[in-house]
């Protein structure tokens, strides 16, 4: 009879055993970010007290799952026992909506224990289990079954600039309906609530634009666990392609989206890779339209430049970069925003 016990990674010997076990099963990425996010790890031990399975929880995500089937009562029994324990533990914390990121080869195993695939690519897959799920999310978004030209835009809008406004305007001109998804992530200067509100205000005159919170499904792809990807260079490709596949396999078909609009990316290497992945995965089913970025004078309008201007308090240049609605918010909250920056809020990145 196999038994489940806590596996404490803070203990050097336990951690070494755990790593050796995972590495023998093809998981070799133990970078700081992946390991530090783990909330708890369990081990499955056989009668000889050997580790025969392990799995970890990080917030609502199950990861670092590996099982050895040698000596098991039935193939898959240990896997089911582990996942069962992990889902129950998450449930006990009140987390009933759970995600798994894994190699495409294990999608079937997770489907057998009630997970559903949200996106699958060559390099990886994302699955979810529990409620509310993707169906509930898509159900609450307004739909326009008679519209023929429907576009989607996904933006961080940190904060909403004239560059974003230009992209939305063009899409609104070319299409009957534009879904504008605001990425759900509270890791930078403006919170999701603030970003959402500024996007709503900044597009309120465009009647065919529907602003939607990305919630659990349009998130920052950087947050996708990559513990099973060996090669560092492949991580960004895996993350961006997976993000694109969720859009293609779940979001676009349900809302009838036929085109996705992007701004060209002369500044950020990562975002450039993202744009390439979107083109690779979405085309030809979904047209990818890349618009040249809006400029003011010779300066490309970008949210990261806007955040630098907030840091130094250059309100007159800000007025040229952001719409009046965003400018009012910044002026009213300049001290708060600057305080967040001085407290160490990261304003670099995208």
């Amino acid at each position: 009879m196999d038994t489940i016990r806590e596996l404490y990674l803070t203990d050097k010997v336990s951690q070494k055993n755990w790593q050796t076990f995972l590495m023998a099963r093809g998981i070799s990425n133990f970078n700081q970010q992946e390991v530090a996010s783990i909330d708890q790890t369990i081990g499955l031990y056989n009668e000889e007290n050997q580790l025969v399975g392990t799995g970890s929880i990080a917030k609502n995500v199950i990861k670092f799952v590996a099982v050895c089937d040698i000596g098991a009562v039935a193939k898959g029994a240990r896997f089911n026992q582990l996942i069962s324990e992990l889902t129950s533990r998450l449930g006990a914390q009140g987390i009933f909506h759970q995600f798994v990121f894994t190699k495409p080869a294990y999608v079937t195993s997770f489907k057998h224990v009630g997970f559903q695939a949200l996106g699958v690519t060559e390099l990886g897959a994302i699955l979810e289990k529990g409620l509310p799920n993707i169906k509930d999310y898509l159900n609450q978004i307004p739909k326009f079954p008679n519209a023929k030209k429907v576009a989607g835009i996904v933006m961080n809008a940190n904060p909403f600039t004239k560059g974003h406004r230009y992209l939305v305007e063009q899409a609104a001109k070319d299409n009957e309906v534009v879904y504008l998804f605001v990425v759900n992530a509270d890791v930078s200067l403006f919170s999701t609530t603030e970003r959402l509100e500024l996007v709503r205000q900044g597009t309120s005159d465009l009647t065919n634009v529907i602003v939607v919170n990305g919630q659990d499904y349009l998130v920052s792809f950087i947050s996708f666990p990559a513990y099973f990807i060996k090669d560092n260079d492949a991580i960004i490709r895996y993350q961006t392609e997976l993000d694109a596949s969720i859009f293609k396999q779940q979001i676009a078909p349900a809302l009838g989206i036929t085109a996705r609009y992007l701004g060209s990316e002369p500044l950020s290497h990562t975002t450039n890779i993202y744009n390439e992945s979107l083109q690779r995965i979405l085309s030809p089913d979904i047209t990818v339209k890349i618009l040249k970025r809006a400029t003011w004078d010779t300066q490309i309008i970008s949210a990261s430049y806007v955040r630098q201007l907030i840091k130094v308090g250059d309100v007159s240049t800000l007025a040229a970069m952001v719409p009046a609605t965003t400018l009012t918010f910044i002026q009213n909250n300049l001290a708060t925003l600057q305080l967040r920056i001085s407290k160490g809020q990261n304003i670099n990145g995208n």
């Binding site: 029994a77 089911n80 069962s84 889902t87 449930g91 009140g94 009933f96 009630g114 409620l131």
Partner: protein, 97 residues
């Protein structure tokens, strides 16, 4: 009766069943994953439905992962999930049981 909070009962191990309940607005909405869904899917749903009705629950989303559970196991897991969802674990409804 209304479901007060999301609740889960059961495991994913062989011969067991995991039942997750959450508030709904549109009768009973089932999602069932089972290797024997074709043969016993309707029977599994009927067993859970009878428990929900016994507790006078009108609306619920029910997510089920069956691993070949027998009827009495399904009933037991359903009762536990319902009592957790209604927050009446300490005061079970003996008449229903």
């Amino acid at each position: 009766m209304e479901i007060k909070k999301m609740a889960m009962a059961g495991t994913l191990e062989s011969s067991d069943i995991q039942i997750m309940l959450s508030a709904g607005t549109n009768g009973y909405e089932f999602e069932l994953e089972s290797d024997v869904a074709k043969q016993f899917g309707d029977q599994i749903k009927a067993t859970i439905t009878s428990v929900l009705q016994a507790y006078a629950i009108d609306n619920a989303k029910i997510s089920v992962v069956d691993k070949g559970a027998l009827d009495l196991v399904i009933k037991a897991r359903a009762v536990t999930a319902v009592q957790r969802a209604l927050e009446i674990v300490d005061t079970p409804n003996w008449e229903v049981l």
